[in-house]
């Protein structure tokens, strides 16, 4: 057995906890989870059945943690996990799983399948079976500070741009601010409008906030690839910056996995509770709305829908807030079929977007989103995750669909009362 295989197996065994054992013990191989996964529904290929993606881990569990497995092993009837098998499973565990968590909603015995996929990836990384694209993104995040190679200079250029456009100052490294805003790489690189948008909203709502030069990047490739060590390093940077600036809150950007990384996994990754609270930008905007601090004075009559980012909704619990915000400014807001917690993934979460090998499959399964969109016939999709946004744009283009995609924060900023042109309020 090679050392990397041994590492992988040891890591997988160490990942098996009470929930995992209860899930594997309960699985009756009914196949219902297939119906929940867009990779199965759009391809019809049984190998994309969610629980099947965990087969090597299931066998390890059975062989090492059950009487039956030990008995079978004893009489030579069990099939050991091999390097070849893990290599074969790599595309199943990464390319065909966006960690969307839809499978975990449907399993009749209650299995949280995505919880186990996340664990399975730890073993895949340890055994050297992670996709090149994701490895590259994670390495860039560790070495350069961002999976997309965005650095402080890029951010500063975007800040300058936003300041010119809004006529307001974008606070950077302000000690003692209440909120520290974190961005995602895609926002800094592709959707920098967000900086101007939050600057104007926070100005109007009188929010004391700042960006941090040493903790502005929220994207966490460590979580997506399944390396808790690297994920902890990335979260640690934000925690250090927040401590340095003594903020009370850290705002998670419009990026689903960044939210999961910061809000739910972060303290566990670094092994201690955060000395600040984490709030999603959409949660904060809705809170400002309910306090009467976010005021709009115009509406957009365009027929719009809202795409729920899996990590924000199903895995994050920010469900009603975006709808309340949409209803403020979009009188023709319509829901797609199966909205909210049941929403279908854009196809590019969980590191799939950074994995070039997965591109053809991702494009194929976009047909699920297309069907949802075809049912509502909208001109604009609003979302609140920059990765979803890029994936939607890509999918729409590939499927020749003429629909605009915008971020919810920007939509709100466009309709802010007063200060419309950005002149200081």
């Amino acid at each position: 057995m090679t050392t990397s295989l041994q590492n992988g197996i040891n890591t997988l065994l160490a990942q098996i906890d009470a929930p995992t054992a209860s899930f594997f013990s309960s699985c009756v191989h009914c196949g219902l989870c297939a119906d929940a996964c867009l990779f199965y529904t759009e391809t019809g290929d049984p190998k994309y059945t969610p629980i099947h993606k965990l087969e090597p881990m299931r066998r390890l569990w059975q062989q090492e943690y059950t009487f039956w497995g030990k008995l079978m092993k004893g009489i030579g009837l069990s099939k050991p996990v091999t390097d070849e098998e893990l290599a074969e499973w790599e595309p199943l565990v990464y390319d065909s799983c966006t960690l969307c968590g839809r499978c975990s909603l449907v399993c009749p015995v209650g299995n949280d399948i995505v919880y186990m996929v996340r664990k399975m990836r730890e073993g895949m990384v340890a055994s050297g079976h992670a996709p090149e694209g994701l490895k590259g993104a994670t390495q860039r995040a560790i070495e350069l500070g961002s999976p997309m190679g965005v650095n402080l200079n890029t951010l500063k250029a975007q800040i300058k741009h936003a300041e010119k456009e809004t006529g307001l100052t974008v606070p950077l490294d302000v000690e003692g601010a209440d909120y520290m805003m974190v961005l995602s790489s895609a926002e800094v690189a592709d959707y920098p409008e967000i900086i101007g948008a939050v600057t104007r909203i926070f100005k109007q709502a009188n929010v004391s906030w700042t960006l941090a030069s040493d903790g502005f990047e929220g994207t966490n490739s460590g979580i997506q690839i399944g390396s808790s060590d690297l994920a902890a390093e990335l979260v640690g940077r934000i925690v250090r910056a927040a401590k340095r600036l003594k903020v009370k809150y850290v705002i998670s950007p419009e990026c689903g996995h960044a939210f999961t990384a910061l809000r739910w996994e972060g303290p566990n990754l670094i092994g201690r509770p955060f000395p600040f609270k984490v709030i999603h930008i959409i949660e904060l905007l809705d809170q400002l709305r309910s306090e009467g601090r976010l005021k709009t004075d115009s509406k957009d009559d365009t027929r719009m829908t809202f795409h729920d980012p899996c990590q924000m909704v199903r895995r994050g619990g920010v469900i009603e807030q975006p709808r309340k915000l949409m209803n403020m400014v979009a009188p023709n807001f319509v829901e797609m079929p199966e909205p909210g917690v049941q929403n279908w993934c854009c196809g590019g979460g969980g590191g799939v977007s950074a994995n070039h090998r997965a591109e053809p499959l991702r494009n194929q399964v976009f047909s699920r989103k297309k069907a949802q969109l075809d049912a509502v016939n909208v001109k604009t999709i609003v979302t609140s995750c920059s990765n979803c946004r890029s994936m939607l744009l890509d999918g729409l283009e590939n499927h020749h669909m003429d629909i605009e995609v915008i971020g919810l924060t920007e939509l709100m900023a466009e309709h802010l009362a007063e200060d419309k042109k950005g002149s200081a309020a």
């Binding site: 929930p19 009914c30 196949g31 119906d35 049984p46 975990s104 994050g316 619990g317």
Partner: protein, 219 residues
């Protein structure tokens, strides 16, 4: 005479052994799972693990997601099988008499016609599920030896019980012996196979729901 003696052993010592293995095995299995533990989340809770866990224990008995035709088939056949199984187990007068003799608890029996129907439907659903396991590509891929073994072990008590009620095929004593023996086999194997899901599913649902409850997600 020999059949009499076998029956005596099967309904006496045999049953005691089977019940003991079942109870001790199940308790051990669940404790073993529980003792693997889990990390307590250090994130700030937005809701309660217990309310989420209990909610999921209940809600997973219902279908809340749109399924495909094969999915609905599985759910409906699965419901019929489970309900039929428990109706015959808990409401046949002979079973109630046995429970009363052992535990002192009793409740009204259901009419024989209802029991017959429940048994027939349950058997039919099981056969349909087995056929589906062979023909449906997803289930065929997932299935292993244990799936077929546990199917057989659950099927035999139903079948032998039904034959016993109607005295089909063999003499009453032989059928009774076979029926009890098939139940004992089921009891003995259950803790060591996926039949354990009869209890572990509640743990699985609780753990799944607890994570959502912690995050304040009501699903």
């Amino acid at each position: 005479m020999v059949t009499q003696e076998i029956l005596l052993w099967v309904r006496g010592t045999g049953l005691q052994i089977a019940v003991a293995v079942f109870v001790i095995g199940m308790v051990f299995r669940m404790l073993h799972i529980r003792m693997l533990g889990r990390k307590k989340s250090l994130a700030q809770a937005r809701g309660s693990e217990w309310s989420g866990g209990l909610r999921t224990i209940w809600k997973r008995s219902l279908v809340s997601t749109r399924l495909s035709a094969r999915g609905y088939f599985t759910v409906i056949a699965g419901f019929i099988f489970h309900i039929g199984f428990f109706v015959t187990l808990l409401f046949l007068s002979q079973h109630i008499d046995l429970i009363r003799a052992v535990l002192g608890l009793h409740w009204p029996a259901m009419p024989r016609g209802v029991i017959d129907m429940a048994a027939v439907l349950s058997i039919a659903a099981m056969v349909a599920l087995l056929v589906h396991r062979f023909v449906d590509p997803v289930k065929r891929l997932l299935s292993d030896f244990q799936d077929y073994l546990t199917w057989l072990l659950s099927f035999l008590p139903l079948l032998s019980g039904f034959m016993l009620l109607r005295e089909i095929g063999f003499e009453y004593i032989t059928l009774l012996t076979l029926h009890i023996a098939s139940v004992e086999l089921l009891l003995i194997v259950a803790p060591f196979t996926k039949l354990a899901h009869m209890f572990t599913t509640f743990m699985a649902r609780w753990y799944n729901g607890a994570v959502n409850g912690f995050k304040g997600i009501n699903i």
